[in-house]
Amino acid sequence: MSGFDLSGLTASFSGKRVIGPLSLKVNPGDKIALVGKSGAGKSTLIRLIHERINRNSSLVPQDLGLVNALSVFHNVFMGQLDKHATWYSTLTLARPFAKDKAEVLSLLESLSMGDKLWTPAASLSGGQRQRVAVARALYRNAAVLLADEPVSALDGPMANSVMTHLRGRFSTSVIALHDVDLALHYCNRIVGIESGQIALDQPTENLAATDIMSLY
């Protein structure tokens, strides 16, 4: 399953509707950028989609969901906890296997974080933490990527490198992005959210930056 068709997406927060009701059809191969003002409901929508597709996705949540006390290796390894037996994962907490170490290390090297393999997540900078969450999503290797501002704390070149990796690994994705240029460059479909509704849904080639700016 890499495409999905969701309808009746709604979310309320303390009695106030923040999303929908709206429908969203994602086809295999769609690389969707969710754009819109902050507070428009992008993060809520990402969460909703995550639940509706039974969490079968590689997720980069806005608050990253890292376990601060664990090392970078363990945080990344958590992306495949469903694939191992209990004894294997438990042993890995104390003493990781060489095969997993090599795999996670090469992934981190591609994100320029090879030297942080054993650093506890708590002592990383904001940008490094974000890349650990991205690495976990890459390691998870699900058919669909759901990401909420995955490069907001990264500088230009690093943001581009990470977006390139994500585009290369996931054929289908939904990414909330506030950076319009990144959205136009790395995605093939732009969905604009305004007051919890879809205000814009176009292939990227039909759009220019100014068309999107009207949402802000």
Binding site: P61, G65, N68, L81, K83, T86, T90, R140
Partner: protein
């Protein structure tokens, strides 16, 4: 000023304590209390570490009982914390922790006798109840986000190990280390009911007037607690845990016939045992309630309320001792030493010493409870003031205390005080064993008279009273929106 609910509640409690003082038996009855106190301090400054080899053995046993008891308590407490959502588990834990270590020891002594198991279980059982509560609170506070990001199909155990334990590990370790310190104190006072720990040695030295021996014991105990960070190391823990069971001493063998008799005969209420049936039970219970439980509850409550307010006053007076808003480093170091000493001394030992010196009344108990608990809260509040940044032109001296510091820390001060309310009451009840007419006195007398049925009912009453005060304390803390950490 009275518009503030925290001020109002403070004055209500102050008024209750003042009324309590009218009914309380506060007196110094010893013929020459100051000479005795002088002799005692002379003993402390001229400690005798070499009077007998009993001292070192007692020290070793104290540590061994603490380690085995706290380790078992934390292991079973952790297991209970995993199922703490269940109401029966919560009630069970509240019940076992409402009964003081010494009461548990008195119960086990009746059927296990002076076997090491008595001391180990007396610590492990109430501690398991406390660990279960605090561990479950810590686990609940863990960040839920990492769990949500896990792939579906991740096993529960693995999810728990990866997302909850690492997040809680440091807090659980800190709390367990703090409890080990409490365990050393509990272990020491178990000696007062005859187990081979420091309390036994202290009582023996005191009764013979060997103040220098008693002084040596107290000094060794302070050194033991003050140096804990040096000798309690993660790497050494497995050695201690494996070794401790071998240093509990032989004790006396368990007579299993006694165990059986205790449960099938001794604790069965007398009327039932004598075949009077349920008809005989009512007058028996009435007599017990009116002549023992009621006076015991009354004295326990009066003493608790006076001690609670005395603790509060002492904490407010004591916290400047370690606050870096007053005095220089010399004075603060002296303050630290003073607070470490008062809070390291178990209430029970303080009360015992003061009772020996001043004679029996509620006064030694109030002073002991206030010193110990005031030392703890004063330390916590003082440390809190050290993280306060005041404006550069803030007033100094007494004005700084009254205008800048006390208003800022008053809420957490009250939170700590109400948190310790239940602890103070549990201690108050137990001090009855020393001859103050609180519930512990009636429990102890019933046991002396081999009326275990009555003792069990009175222990049950004590436990219910503690659970009630704990609930009331939590209600007040919630009502005033007072937050506190469990490590107090």
């Amino acid at each position: 000023m009275f518009a503030s609910p925290t001020v109002r509640i403070s004055f209500i409690f102050l008024a209750i304590a003042l009324v309590g003082l009218l009914f309380a038996d506060i007196a110094i009855t010893a013929s020459n209390p100051w000479r005795d106190l002088g002799n005692f301090f002379l003993g402390i400054v001229t400690p005798n570490f070499f009077s007998s080899e009993g001292l070192l053995t007692a020290l070793l046993r104290t540590v061994a009982f603490a380690f085995v008891g706290v380790a078992l308590g934390s292991f079973f407490g952790f297991l209970l914390a995993l199922v703490y959502q269940s109401l029966p588990v919560r009630i069970f834990c509240a019940f076992i922790r409402a009964i003081h270590e010494l009461f548990w020891a008195l119960i086990f002594l009746q059927f296990f006798g002076f076997h090491p198991l008595t001391g180990v279980l007396a610590i492990a059982i109430p501690y398991a109840g406390i660990f279960a509560k605090v561990y479950s609170e810590i686990l609940e506070e863990a960040d839920p986000e990492p769990g949500r990001a896990l792939p579906p199909g991740t096993g529960n155990i693995v999810a728990f190990l990866y997302t909850r334990i690492p997040d809680c590990w440091v807090k659980m370790r800190t709390y367990t280390a703090y409890r080990l310190e409490c365990g050393l104190r509990s272990s020491a006072i178990l000696g007062f009911v005859g187990l081979p720990t420091l309390g036994f040695y202290l009582e023996a030295s005191f009764s013979q007037g060997l103040y220098s021996d008693a002084g040596a014991m107290l000094i060794l105990f302070y050194v033991l607690i003050a140096t804990m960070p040096l000798w309690v190391r993660p790497k050494l823990l497995p050695i201690y845990l494996l070794g401790a069971p071998f240093f509990l001493g032989e004790g006396l063998p368990i007579v299993w016939g006694n165990v059986l008799r205790f449960f099938t005969e001794d604790i069965v209420p007398a009327p039932l045992r004598n075949g009077e049936g349920l008809a005989g039970l009512t007058p028996w219970l009435n007599d017990l309630m009116i002549n023992e439980a009621m006076p015991g509850i009354w004295n326990t409550v009066v003493l608790t309320q006076i001690a609670l307010v005395a603790t509060g006053i002492l904490s407010l007076l004591a916290f400047p001792l370690i606050s870096n808003h007053f005095g220089g480093p010399m004075r603060r170091s002296a303050g630290h030493v003073a607070l470490v000493i008062v809070r390291s001394t178990p209430e029970y030992i303080l009360a015992y010493i003061l009772l020996q010196l001043w004679g029996p009344s509620m006064l030694p108990a109030v002073v002991a409870l206030a010193l110990h608990n005031g030392g703890i809260i004063g330390h916590l509040i003082g440390r809190q003031t050290n993280s306060l940044k005041l404006r550069p032109d803030a007033p100094t001296g007494f004005n700084r205390y009254t205008w800048e510091l006390v208003p800022r820390v008053y809420r957490s001060f009250l939170a700590f005080l109400f948190y310790r309310w239940e602890i103070i009451m549990r201690e108050t009840a137990i001090l009855g064993i020393l001859g103050i007419y609180t519930l512990g006195f009636y429990v102890d007398s019933a046991i002396q008279n081999i009326r275990f049925d009555r003792a069990m009912v009175l222990i049950l009453v004590t436990a219910l009273l503690n659970i009630g005060v704990d609930a009331l304390g939590r209600y007040i803390r919630r009502k005033l929106a007072l937050q506190t950490l469990p490590n107090c």
